[in-house]
């Protein structure tokens, strides 16, 4: 067979292999989601959402886990957003020339790659023991806030970078100071991108399991937490608990809880993507 034909066959085969791999990736996702829905959707009802966990699978519910997740979501956001956005603004607008900023950049890049469970160890010792927060919601939120900080910082920087320089020039030209230019022009103009990044970061935080277990989140919580110093559990940990049980009914519970967790995750990601699209369209500089 001629060389040319042989090359064509190789090319053709690879193309089909490529299609196959792509289809594989996507269909695993679909099979994945379908199997979970099939297993769990019947279990979801108002009782499921409002009940406490129990030894009896039919009676067990996700209320403490859901409330715990909400608490964690709010506190983690409250801690990481101001610090992350401020850091991003500093690095992008003030830190261009100095070595301190370069050092911080490398530091943040490294932190982004540290496994989440190590943050758990950090939280356990520093927040849990040294700062005496114990295995509380506050300790968990502080830990997760540090974990997602690099993500918030990077997306803040990207959003600020996208603001065209001519806007800053116009502002300076009218006699505005650096902070006035930042607070009145640059940050508002990059708000869309910043918010998108924050939502994605938070949505990652609520899916985290290992660092919270290490910090001291409980696996079995028969009460609803009422304050930041309370002990707690979150949806992913509740799921982990149920999956680890041999009884089949708990597996169904796990699937149901997963559907709720995925709903929250996908809704948040969806909102973030929608915002990103709208924001990108608005900017027809």
């Amino acid at each position: 067979m001629s060389e040319v034909n042989w090359n064509r066959i190789k090319d053709r085969s690879f193309k089909y292999f490529g299609i196959g791999c792509t289809v594989f990736g996507l269909s695993v996702l679909v099979v994945f989601l379908l199997s979970i829905i099939i297993q769990g959707v019947a279990r979801i009802d108002w009782d499921f959402i409002t009940s406490m966990p129990s030894r009896f699978a039919e009676k067990a519910g996700i209320l403490p886990a859901l409330i715990g997740t909400l608490w964690i979501l709010v506190l983690t956001a409250a801690i990481s957003i101001p610090i992350g956005v401020a850091s991003g603004v500093y690095l992008e607008e003030y830190g261009k020339k100095n070595r301190f900023a370069k050092f911080l950049e490398i530091n943040i890049a490294n932190l982004a790659g540290v496994p989440s469970i190590i943050y758990g160890l950090l939280g356990l010792e520093i927040f849990g023991r040294i700062m005496a927060m114990g295995g509380s919601i506050l300790a968990g939120s502080c830990t997760l806030a540090l974990l997602i900080l690099p993500v918030v910082i990077v997306s803040t920087r990207e959003a600020i970078k996208a603001v065209p320089d001519t806007l800053r020039q116009a502002s300076y030209g009218l006699g505005a100071s650096k902070w006035q230019t930042l607070s009145r022009q640059v940050i508002p103009a990059s708000a869309g991108g910043i918010v998108t990044g924050i939502i994605l970061a938070i949505s990652r935080a609520i899916g985290e399991t290992a660092p919270l277990i290490v910090v001291g989140a409980l696996v079995f919580v028969p009460f609803v937490p009422s304050g930041p110093m309370d002990q707690f559990t979150v949806l992913p940990i509740q799921i982990f608990n149920w999956v680890s049980r041999p009884e089949k009914e708990f597996g169904v519970n796990a699937a149901a809880a997963i559907i709720i967790l995925l709903l929250v995750t996908f809704v948040m990601n969806g909102i973030a993507l929608y915002l990103r699209n709208r924001w990108q369209k608005k900017i027809k500089w």
Partner: protein, 251 residues
């Protein structure tokens, strides 16, 4: 007679690049001066020295004195934010803020802490009138500035600059991104504004320079080759180089 603006032996370096070579000039108040010259000759750079916009560039270094109303603007005690309220700048590509027309115009006042509605309203009307934009936008000042046409946006930028009551106006190729009709509107504007302001305009368009300015300065490779009354520059320049540029032999 006193000069509005005086530049004495200005030398500018970007790192080791000598980009402005020993330029001196004196400008009368209430005149329009045009800076002309081929691309990269330093006219925009020199313009930006006049309101210290080059301060933001690393490696920028200026020697010499630039005096406005007799005071050196590069003196250490000078507050740059104050300076820029006196010396306004209009850029080549219109750059309105992504806010309403009203908020664009009052920005220069808000950053000074002036937030009283009556003052702002009055300023908006005055500035937009001065920029010959009032009639076109007065019915909807809340409209986003980005929805205006290119020519309108540039006049808005001029209004925005006029809102702080400057005495000098620097214009960096203000009409080069505009269509001919908008361009002539801007040129009319310059003629009217001359009554109250001293204007310096950088332009690539020599016909525009001839139409609009009283004095013209020809820059070439960082040197101020020649500066004289516009009529003289365009009919009987002293330097051969000037003659060659104006007649289109190069540039």
């Amino acid at each position: 007679m006193s000069y509005k603006l005086e530049a004495e032996n200005i030398n500018v370096h970007y790192g080791s690049n000598h980009v402005i070579k020993n330029v001196s000039m004196k400008l009368q108040p209430n005149t329009v001066t045009a800076f002309i010259g081929p691309s990269g000759c330093g006219k925009s750079t020199f313009l930006r020295c006049l309101n210290r916009m080059n301060d933001y560039i690393d490696l920028f270094h200026l020697d010499g004195k630039i005096k406005v109303d007799g005071k050196n603007i590069y003196d250490k005690k000078v507050r740059v934010e104050e300076l820029r309220k006196q010396i306004g700048m209009v850029f080549q590509k219109p750059n309105p803020f992504p806010k309403s027309i009203y908020e664009n115009v009052v920005y220069g006042l808000r950053i000074q802490g002036i937030n009283k509605k009556s003052i702002l309203d009055e300023t908006v009307e005055r500035s937009l009138q001065q920029a010959a934009l009032w009639e076109e936008v007065k019915d909807d000042l809340k409209k986003s500035a980005l929805q205006l046409s290119g020519g309108q946006q540039q006049r808005l930028c001029i209004a925005r600059t006029l809102a702080t009551n400057p005495t000098v106006l620097l214009m960096d190729e203000p009409a080069s991104a505009l269509d001919p009709i908008s361009t002539s509107k801007v040129e009319e504007l310059i003629h009217d504004l001359k009554k109250d302001l001293t204007i310096i305009i950088v332009t690539h368009n020599m016909q525009q320079a001839a139409r609009v300015s009283d004095t013209t300065a020809f820059f070439y490779l960082g040197d101020l080759v020649e500066m004289d009354a516009t009529k003289v520059m365009f009919t009987n320049p002293r330097e051969t180089q000037t003659q060659n540029y104006i007649t289109g032999r190069f540039g």
